[in-house]
Amino acid sequence: MSKVLLDVRNMSVSFGGVRAVDGLTFSVQEGEVLSVIGPNGAGKTSAFNCITGFYQPASGSVTFNGSDITGKRPAVIAASGIARTFQNLRLFGDLTVLDNVRAGMHVRIKQNSLDAMLHTPRYWRSEDAATDEAHRWLDFVGMHYDRTAQIRNLPYGEQRRVEIARALAREPRMLLLDEPAAGLNHTEKTQLLDLMRRIAALGTAVVLIEHDMGLVMEVSERIVVLSYGKEIADGPPAAIRSNPAVIEAYLGAEDQEAHAEAERIAAEAGTDGIAEAR
C-alpha cells in the first residue's frame, strides 16, 4: 500500500522473569488505522510503553519514519512524531483544559524565556496562535464544556476527549490510543468512532488498543493480535475474526488470567502499566 511508518522488530521486555513482550514484530503503514488486541495481560500496553520510550526494551529495535528510536527518551520519541494517550487518563489535573491542550504544542511554540519575561510581540503572537490552535483542536474532538475550567472538574468522557486533543496538538504522524473507549457510553463510543475516522483522514496513522470488538472491527484496517507477549495473528478484520489461533487465545482464558496477574504484579505499576523505569 504505502510507506512503512513504524517498524518494530523482535522487541522484548520482561519484569522479574515474566516476559511481558516476547520477540514482538509488527509494522504500521503511514495513515493506517491499526488495532492491537489480545487477552488481558497479553503485553499490549507494555508494547506501547516500549515504543514510546517509557520502558527500555531488553532487545529488539523500534524504527520510526526511517530512524532508530529504540530506547530513546520518551520526550525525544514524542518530538519525532509519536503521540499517545494513556489507559488511565494522565491529564494535568490542576490546569485548565486549554493549558492541557497547549502541552501538546509545547515543542512547536516559538518563544523563549526572554520573550516571556519582556512580553515581546513574538510572545503575544505565539501565545495567541497557541490559544487559537488549542480551541481548534478542542472543536475537532467536540469538547463541549468550559475550556477555562480546571480539567479535574470535568466529566470523564470530556476528559477523554481533551486527552485526545492534547495528543493531536502534538501534530503526530502516528497516534497511539490506549483503550480510548473504556468507560464510555454508547453515544460517546459512536462519537469516538467518528473522531478516529476524522483523525485518520488527517493523514495520521492510528494505533489502537481496545477491548470493544465492535469498535475494533468497525474502525480498523488491520488488526494485530497478541498473546503472551507474542504476535499470533496479523491481518484485516475479517481474517482475524475467523483465525483459529485467535479464538484459541481468547477462549483458553484460565491460563491467561494467571499470566495477566503475574505481569501486572511484576510490572509493579498499578492498573496503568507504566512504571518509571528510567
Partner: protein, 366 residues
C-alpha cells in the same frame, strides 16, 4: 536558561492545521459554558480574592507604594526592615519557581543566597570591584552551583532532591565558615553599596533594591505564564504525561532550578550590600526553611500569594521581636495545618486563562 529542543515554527499554519480547520465539525461548543464545573462557593470566593490581588492594578499600586515608601517614612529602621522584606520577597519568588512552579522541593535554597552574597562580597572587598560589576559573576557562580548540584540529583526521584539540597546548603555554609579566604566564621565586612547618588546611603539602596525586586517579581510571574512556565507546571502535575508530549522533563527541571539559583544569587548581592557584613550563620537551614514557609503559606505557584507570604514571614518577627522559639513552633505547626487543610496556600494561584493581547482570535470559538 535554555529551553528544550528547537521549537518548530507556528507562524504559518501547517497543512495539518488547515486540514483540521476544513474538517472541523460545525457543532462547536457554546463558548465559556459553565456546564460541569463543580467549584464550590468557598473556592470561588478565594479565587475572587486572589484574582483581585493578581489584578494588574493592585500590583501597580503596590509597586507605587513600594517606591514611594521613603517619602512616607524614611526613618533608618523602616528603611532597614523594608529592604530586608524586599530581599526576602525576591528569595521567595525565586524559590517559588523551583517549588511552586516545578514541584521540586529545595531545602537548601539559602546556598544560592550565600553564593551570591559571598561572591559579590569577596570581589568587592578583596579586589575592589564595584558591586554592580559583581552581578554577572554572581549569576555565573549561581548557575555553576545549580549545575553541580542539580546535574546529578534532578535525575533522581524528587525526595532525594530535598535532602541533597539540604546537604548542599550545609556544605556551602560550612565551607564558608572553614576557609580563611571567605573570612572564616566572622565572614566578610566592609562591603560597599551601589553608590548613594546624592541620597542618604540607605535610601539609595532601598530604591535600587525596590526596582530590582519589582522587576524580579514581574519576571518570575511572566515566566510562570509563558511557554517554559507551562512546561514547569506540566512536569509538576505529571512527568510521564509531559514526556509523552515531547517535553524533556530533565531539562525543564534544570531550567527551573537554575532560574531559582539566579534569583537567589542576586538576592545575595542585595543582602551583602544591605548588611555590609556577611557571615555563615546568616545562611543556615533555618533561613532556607523560612523561605520555603513563605512560599507554602502564600500559595505554591502563585506569585501574589508568595509575595504576601514573604511579607508576613519577614515582617512578623519584627513586630513580635523576642518570641523566637514560639515563632518557629508556630511555623512548624502551620506547615502541617496548611498542607492538610489548605494545601493551595492563602492566595492560591488562579487557574483561569490569561487575557489576550495582539490580534483577535480568528475562528475556533465563535
Amino acid at each position: 536558561m535554555n529551553d528544550e529542543s528547537t521549537p518548530r515554527t507556528m507562524e504559518a499554519p501547517s497543512a495539518y492545521v488547515r486540514a483540521v480547520e476544513e474538517r472541523a465539525p460545525a457543532n462547536v461548543a457554546p463558548a465559556g459554558s459553565k456546564v460541569g464545573t463543580f467549584t464550590d462557593r468557598r473556592a470561588a470566593l478565594a479565587e475572587t480574592a486572589s484574582g483581585l490581588l493578581a489584578s494588574r492594578w493592585l500590583a501597580l499600586g503596590l509597586a507605587a507604594v513600594t517606591l514611594a515608601l521613603p517619602y512616607l517614612n524614611s526613618s533608618t529602621y523602616v528603611i532597614q526592615i523594608a529592604i530586608d522584606a524586599l530581599i526576602f520577597i525576591m528569595l521567595a519568588v525565586g524559590l517559588n519557581i523551583v517549588v511552586g512552579y516545578c514541584g521540586l522541593l529545595d531545602l537548601g535554597y539559602a546556598a544560592f543566597f550565600a553564593i551570591g552574597a559571598y561572591v559579590s562580597g569577596l570581589l568587592s572587598t578583596r579586589y575592589g570591584w564595584p558591586l554592580l560589576a559583581t552581578i554577572p559573576v554572581v549569576v555565573a557562580a549561581a548557575v555553576i552551583g545549580g549545575l553541580v548540584i542539580g546535574g546529578p540529583t534532578l535525575r533522581l526521584r524528587s525526595d532525594y532532591l530535598a535532602i541533597v539540597t539540604l546537604g548542599f546548603g550545609e556544605i556551602i555554609r560550612i565551607t564558608a565558615n572553614n576557609l580563611d579566604f571567605t573570612g572564616g566564621p566572622n565572614g566578610l565586612y566592609g562591603i560597599p553599596d551601589f553608590g548613594a547618588f546624592g541620597l542618604r546611603a540607605d535610601v539609595a539602596l532601598y530604591w535600587i533594591t525596590a526596582v530590582i525586586v519589582i522587576v524580579a517579581v514581574l519576571f518570575s510571574s511572566r515566566l510562570g505564564r509563558g511557554r517554559i512556565g507551562r512546561a514547569w507546571r506540566f512536569v509538576r502535575e505529571d512527568e510521564d504525561a509531559a514526556e509523552a508530549m515531547g517535553i524533556h522533563t530533565y531539562k525543564v527541571k534544570f531550567a527551573a532550578y537554575i532560574a531559582g539559583a539566579i534569583f537567589g544569587g542576586i538576592a545575595g548581592v542585595l543582602f551583602a550590600a544591605h548588611q555590609t557584613a556577611i557571615s555563615p550563620p546568616s545562611f543556615n537551614f533555618l533561613w532556607s526553611a523560612l523561605i520555603l514557609m513563605a512560599v507554602v503559606l502564600g500559595g505554591m505557584g502563585s506569585v501574589p500569594g508568595v509575595v504576601v507570604g514573604a511579607l508576613v514571614i519577614s515582617l512578623l518577627p519584627e513586630l513580635l521581636r523576642g518570641a523566637e522559639n514560639w515563632r518557629y513552633l508556630v511555623f512548624g505547626l502551620l506547615l502541617i495545618v496548611v498542607m492538610i487543610f489548605r494545601p493551595q496556600g492563602l492566595l492560591p494561584s488562579r487557574t483561569g486563562e490569561p487575557r489576550r493581547r495582539g490580534r483577535q482570535s480568528q475562528g475556533g470559538r465563535p
